[in-house]
Amino acid sequence: MSMVIVTAAACGGKKPPVAKPMPPPSTAAGATNDANRPGEPPEPVRETAIPPEPTTVDPLKVSDIDKINQNSPFQPVFFLYDSSEIDAPGQQALQANAGILKKYPEWVITIEGHSDERGTAEYNLALGNRRATAARTYLISLGIPADRLRTVSYGKEFPFDPTHSESGWSKNRRAHFVLTSK
């Protein structure tokens, strides 16, 4: 049995209600003989446990930015070689990302544009800018306000996978979503 004490702001001058303890049931399993009338079995009472209060804490609401980014709810968008076109999987990823951004309207993100190592360092800085902006434009078309979406291009400066083959390169041709403020 739990006691629930409720207090409320005393704006209206009414006395706050006071919970009274519940009276014990008049019959219970294992009660003394006095309570039993001769010949009648005791009334069965079903026991159920009162479940614990469900947690309503959303980890994405309370975690710090670094933690969120390390285990990001956002999906990166990947690109073909020397391209900034958003393909069908990319659109799906952006739709999912838009959903998250709509759920947390205070969040501001930075979209990083990256390329693989095979182009020149200089032109890749421009290509990364195109990729980040392509993702941003698509998110705006899904209704995300532009001022919540920043971009930055890192070209080939920060590969996510150092492997010198397509398995690594494909992971580096991306728009990567970073939570910047919440």
């Binding site: 095979r118 200089e122 421009a126 970073v178």
Partner: protein, 465 residues
């Protein structure tokens, strides 16, 4: 040098010497003073071949260990400086060593040098005085012992900190003048390096940071110029050497930073980047008054070329096309720029007049060409990185033939070329030995030299003086 923890400058700790050059007194019973034209005539050997020059160790005129060491170093560095430009046939080191070092400059064994076929010999001295260091160098004509060129250099004691290399470089430049060549022995290379192993926080894991470093043109005296907890890339020396421009992500987005190399004044950002307006890859105009750079300020995903005055005024847009325009470089005339554009479908090199007219494409013979660098007259060539197999090679376009030649050898990927101010050599980055390193190479593809060895080193730039 201690690293400053927050922001900005570790400015170049250049030698604080003042080199005053004077012409020393001629030894008795010699030629009258000679004008530059006759000096050139003196330096020529037999017709049709470059003069044969002996460059032995300099003569220490006092016994202090640093003077004795400097005499060796200056002679050795001077020989290397001459070898770089190939204006002289040089008597090899092992042969030089067979001639005993004279105790004083008037005891040169001219007959010995004659036997070895030298046309000229450099006679140099090093001494310490009350004021500092004095280095003298004389170009002596072997045939008759006459002095063709004589120069005297004074410096503070600090000028011997690296063995006195600056003296050798100054003498090399002086003697190259008499060959009608602007020498580059005192020039510097700047580049972006992660050699200090520092990292910054990234969204998933830490990321390697890189800052701007510089070295002498021959790789000596490498030192760090910027201390930012982020990446600094694409350095470019102002033509007068007083400032270095570079692209920094220290604010979280890329912007052009101008940092003084002469004093500790606060860096400036003439292109005034913001969160949404990003500026990268700056190039100085030859008169040092303006910078060209790439920016996304007018169109988000599209980058264009802009020009701004060094003080941040006078911003104007040079290109206007939905294609990506990037990597500008100024022509040495100051009247044109070269840049990269993918407006035809893939990155190619274009030339444009400063007023935006006269656009023309250079036929670069591949599907990806980038990072043009333009050499001064009379050579007047444009070098760039060109797609070659899985990587890049350095190619040079010349306006006479309107075609390009490849100067690297297909080993590794060779990128980001930068001409020396006399156009005879280029710096570039290459991963031929593993990590990206800075190399120099002659414009005919010979004389490859590795400048950096520690960490990853990229985006080389060559100072203009």
């Amino acid at each position: 040098m201690t690293h400053i923890k927050f922001f900005t400058a570790v400015f170049a700790c250049g030698t604080a010497l003042v080199l005053t050059a004077q012409t020393p007194q001629q030894p008795p019973a010699t030629q009258p003073p000679q004008d530059p034209d006759s000096i050139r005539a003196v330096l020529v050997g037999d017709p049709g071949r470059p003069p044969r020059l002996a460059v032995p160790e300099f003569i220490p005129l006092s016994k202090e260990p640093d003077v004795v060491a400097a005499a060796k170093t200056i002679g050795a560095v001077l020989l290397d400086d001459f070898a770089f430009e190939k204006e002289f046939y040089l008597i090899p080191r092992d042969v030089l060593r067979t001639v005993p070092s004279p105790a004083s400059p008037d005891q040169i064994a001219l007959s010995r040098w004659k036997e070895l076929g030298a046309d000229g010999v450099i006679v140099g001295t090093v001494q310490k005085t009350a004021e500092g260091i004095v280095v003298e160098a004389r170009y002596i004509r072997v045939a008759d012992g006459a002095m063709a060129i004589g120069k005297k250099y004074s410096g503070t004691a600090r000028s011997l900190a690296d063995g006195g290399r600056i003296f050798a470089h100054s003498i090399a430049d002086e003697i190259h003048k008499s060959r009608n060549l602007m020498g580059v022995a005192k020039t510097k290379l700047a580049f972006s390096s992660d050699r200090d192993g520092q990292r910054m926080k990234g969204p998933v894991g830490d990321r390697d940071i890189s800052n701007i470093y510089q070295s002498d043109y021959d790789g000596a005296n490498q030192s760090r110029l910027t201390v930012n907890r982020s990446i600094d890339i694409a350095p470019s020396f102002a033509p007068d050497g007083s400032v270095i421009a570079y692209t920094s992500y220290k604010t979280g987005y890329p912007d052009i930073i101008l940092q003084s190399l002469r004093d500790a004044r606060m860096p400036t950002n003439p292109a005034k980047g913001t969160e949404s307006s990003h500026n990268l890859l700056s190039s100085w105009s030859p008169d040092g008054n303006r910078l060209a750079f790439m920016s996304n300020r007018d169109g988000g995903g599209n980058t264009e070329i802009y020009i701004v005055n060094r003080d941040g005024t006078g911003l104007r847009r040079l290109t206007n096309h939905p294609g990506t325009d990037s990597t500008p470089t100024w022509a040495p005339t100051g009247q044109q720029l070269a840049f990269t554009s993918d407006r035809s479908g893939s990155p190619q090199i274009y030339i444009i007049n400063v007023d935006g007219t006269g656009l023309q494409r250079i036929d670069c013979d591949s599907t990806w060409c980038d990072r043009a660098t333009w050499s001064r007259a009379p050579l007047n060539e444009i070098a760039y990185a060109s797609r070659s197999g899985g990587g890049f090679d350095i190619r040079i376009f010349d306006f006479q033939s309107r075609s390009s030649r490849t100067i690297t050898d297909g080993i590794g990927s060779n990128e980001s070329p930068a001409f020396a101010p006399n156009g005879r050599h280029l710096a570039f980055s290459s991963d031929r030995s593993g990590k990206m390193q800075v190399y120099t190479i002659a414009r005919d593809g010979t004389d490859l030299r590795q400048i950096t060895k520690t960490g990853t080193n990229r985006y080389p730039s060559w100072s203009q003086n």
